[in-house]
């Protein structure tokens, strides 16, 4: 894209800053959102993405396990959570979880991703035992489990500090926290959508604590419900400030809200251009977060491939048995094979790199 175009769009100054590797402000982030030319915004994000990762596009061979959908929170944007006793409620015991891991012992999985609802009465020992037994069964696998929201919930239920929760889970085998439950940090939005849930500040506090203890985390943003673009930018800014402080964020994942089967009936699903612009602005704002993920489960595989040109460098994983997005009407596949992931990345013009949960390249024999 030539300089003339950015001048026409009134983005000459931002273009200059991005070229010079300088940080953009919250106001500049808002101007990028307001820009009608998604290709121009995308090309800026692509510049940064190429500078950071060249033509690499990462993916992980992973397994998702949702241990239970029973949840005390009742967030209005969620199609997954159920109250205890609901006919569609489920909870796995530790053996069930182990069986799911065992069922895939022949697959070269490097990461298991475990999240669930905020269950009202599962004892803390359940989570510790699950982690310990997975680690015993497959010591080579990294366990990325429990969002900051679940961590705070365990602490409350067990009557201990979040630091103690993290310490004990780490001792049991926890390697990393996923980025879920961040939604949009705005107190206005959380009051409307998820008043029972851990606050935005609370989420950031748990993430900070984890980082300080040497536990890396991801971070998400659920967008496209009732939030304003300003609230998205403020969310990104809060993460950028946390990252300046701790450096513990590995990957940022923007998640388009899927309205089907949720209580936000009048919301329309996000469109492709909005998804791509949000991806690009995330890359541009989060100059200190190494990776941006195009989560194909929510975006569709086709758009996720295109998103590799709009700031994303990670294609997520093979994801067997995803439930949360699909229960909200996500129309993507249930799983992708490694071969298919690599082909899609290559045909998009990028070089596939298999990674572990910390984004170390995985060497296969």
């Amino acid at each position: 894209m030539d300089t003339k175009l950015f001048k026409e769009l009134g983005l000459e100054d931002i273009h200059g800053k991005i070229q010079a590797g300088e940080r953009i402000s919250v106001e500049e982030g808002e101007r990028l959102f307001a820009c009608p030319n998604v290709l121009a915004v995308g090309s800026l994000a692509h510049l940064v993405r190429r500078r950071m990762h060249g033509d690499a596009a990462y993916y992980v061979v992973n397994q998702h396990i949702n241990y239970s959908n029973v949840c005390v929170n009742g967030c209005r944007f969620c199609a997954f959570g159920r109250k205890k006793g609901d006919s569609l409620a489920f909870e796995l015991n530790v053996d069930d979880i182990l069986n799911k891991v065992k069922a895939r012992t022949d697959d070269p999985i490097t990461e298991v991703h475990i999240v669930g609802g905020c269950h009202p009465d599962l004892p803390f020992s359940f989570y510790e035992e699950a982690l310990r037994r997975i680690k015993t069964l497959r010591p080579e696998i990294r366990i990325k489990a429990f969002t900051a929201v679940e961590i705070a919930h365990f602490a409350k239920l067990e009557g201990i500090s979040t630091r103690e929760v993290l310490t004990r889970l780490k001792a049991a085998g926890l390697d990393m926290l996923p980025g879920g439950g961040a939604e949009v940090f705005s107190t206005r939005i959380r009051a409307l959508l998820c008043p029972e849930k851990l606050s935005g500040q609370g989420w950031l506090d748990v993430a900070r604590e984890a980082h300080q203890m040497g536990i890396k985390t991801n971070a998400t943003m659920l967008y496209g419900h009732l939030e304003t673009e300003r609230e998205r930018i403020e969310h990104l800014d809060a993460l950028r400030r946390l990252q300046d402080e701790t450096g513990g964020l590995v990957c940022f994942i923007p998640l388009p809200f899927q309205p089907a089967n949720t209580q936000i009936k009048d919301a329309q699903p996000t469109t492709g251009v909005e998804d791509l612009k949000t991806m690009a602005v995330s890359r541009l704002m989060l100059d200190n977060v190494p990776h941006i993920k195009a989560y194909w489960v929510m975006l569709t595989v086709k758009l996720a491939q295109v998103a590799l040109y709009f700031g994303a460098d990670d294609f997520d994983g093979t994801v067997i048995e995803e439930k949360i997005g699909h229960m909200a009407g996500a129309e993507s596949e249930q799983a992708l094979t490694r071969r298919k992931l690599e082909r899609i990345i290559r045909e998009g013009g990028f070089r596939p790199v298999e990674r572990d949960c910390f984004f170390n390249a995985v060497k296969r024999g």
């Binding site: 998604v38 469109t271 086709k302 295109v306 045909e347």
Partner: protein, 359 residues
């Protein structure tokens, strides 16, 4: 000329040679290609309008003697599951289309082994006698097939169908307009020159048609460009094509084993098509094969039309791909991309603008 200069030239609507087209198709970066195609699109249509048509695909029969390897829809004449639509079903589908604000039907079938030309004439008359609807029907391979079966020339077939009520001819069955590719994937279907011949004759008789390309099966990238050049050459002579519609082959349930084209390759081809077909007014995005999200982005890669609401679609669905969109959703997607949606006819004229369903 270096690739960047070629893109600048193409964006201004200057003609690309096949070598120049190959250069930008192979070398141009993703954003440069999109930007150039979008610039040309804006030169041709300065108003930020994206059109769409409310119509229905009606497949009057799936019985076909062609046996194309890429097709998941057809049934051989002796195979179970073959059908010819009854007049009653046909009428019901048209009434439903009109009820939904539809202006046209896209009617195609297989190469039926025995139905005479009079069957198709009567079908057209049956529709025209009853319904005020535009009939966009019978792709060139069907016309060639009718001519052979009837023992008359293509011009006579078109003339008779036109007299019976045919309004325009859809660009289907073009696949890739290169005979070596056609021999491999659709050996029993009309040749490239026959396909072009039908369109030329239709244009000569004053009928408008569209043109398609089905890519991503067994052709090479150079064949796609040859296809575009063949269309451009005919359009120079007749000006009868209203639009070009490329869509990606969907391999599900077919005899061709390969992976479908990805979104990025689709967008690149779409942009190159916009730039090469400098004498085509309209280029259509394919949400049916690419999904609404990628089709929306296609509006920045040279497409100025969002295609049809597809009240019914059977051929792509037979290959296992099911996307559905309402008129309201199509309008929302177009608006979210920064354009004004406008319902159009087959000839790309506006349907009365009463700011319909703004609710």
């Amino acid at each position: 000329m270096e690739t960047g200069r070629l893109l600048e030239k193409a964006a201004l609507g200057e003609r690309l040679s096949i070598d120049e087209a190959a250069d930008i198709y192979g070398q141009a970066d993703f954003f440069g290609l999109g930007q150039a195609a979008h610039s040309l699109r804006l030169r041709k249509h300065p108003d930020p309008v994206v059109t769409y048509v409310v119509d229905r695909n009606i497949n009057y029969s799936n019985i076909c003697v062609c046996g194309c390897r890429f097709c998941a829809f057809f049934r051989a004449p002796d195979q179970e599951g073959g059908y010819v639509l009854s007049r009653e079903d046909l009428a019901g589908k048209i009434e439903e289309t009109l009820g939904l604000g539809g202006t046209q039907i896209l009617m195609q079938g297989g190469h039926h082994p025995t139905l005479p030309l009079s069957f198709y004439e009567e079908m057209l008359r049956f529709i025209k006698d009853r319904y005020p609807i535009h009939i966009h029907a019978f792709s060139p391979p069907e016309i060639v097939h009718f001519a052979r079966l009837e023992g008359v020339d293509v011009g006579t077939v078109i003339d008779r169908l036109r007299a019976a009520g045919l309004d325009s001819i859809p660009g289907g069955g073009a696949e890739i307009l290169v005979d070596s590719v056609r021999k491999a994937v659709s050996p029993n279907k009309c040749s490239a020159s026959e396909w072009l011949g039908v369109m030329e004759e239709a244009h000569r008789q004053g009928m408008r048609t569209t043109a398609t390309m089905m890519f991503g099966h067994e052709e090479e990238p150079c064949h796609r460009l040859e296809h575009l050049l063949a269309l451009r050459e005919l359009q120079d002579r007749t000006g009868g094509f209203t639009a070009f519609i490329p869509w990606a082959f969907q391999p599900g349930n077919t005899s061709i084993r390969r992976s479908p084209e990805t979104a990025v390759s689709y967008l690149r081809l779409l942009a190159v098509s916009r730039l090469v077909l400098d004498n085509f007014d309209n280029v259509q995005a394919s949400w049916v094969t690419m999904g609404p999200k990628v089709a929306q982005l296609a509006l920045q890669f040279g497409a100025n039309d969002f295609g049809s609401t597809m009240i019914e679609e059977n051929v792509v669905a037979a290959a296992g791909v099911h996307f559905r969109l309402s008129v309201r959703e199509i309008r929302r997607i177009i608006e979210a991309a920064g354009f004004k949606p406008r319902q159009r006819t087959m000839a790309y004229g506006p349907v009365e603008e009463s700011d319909r369903d703004q609710s």
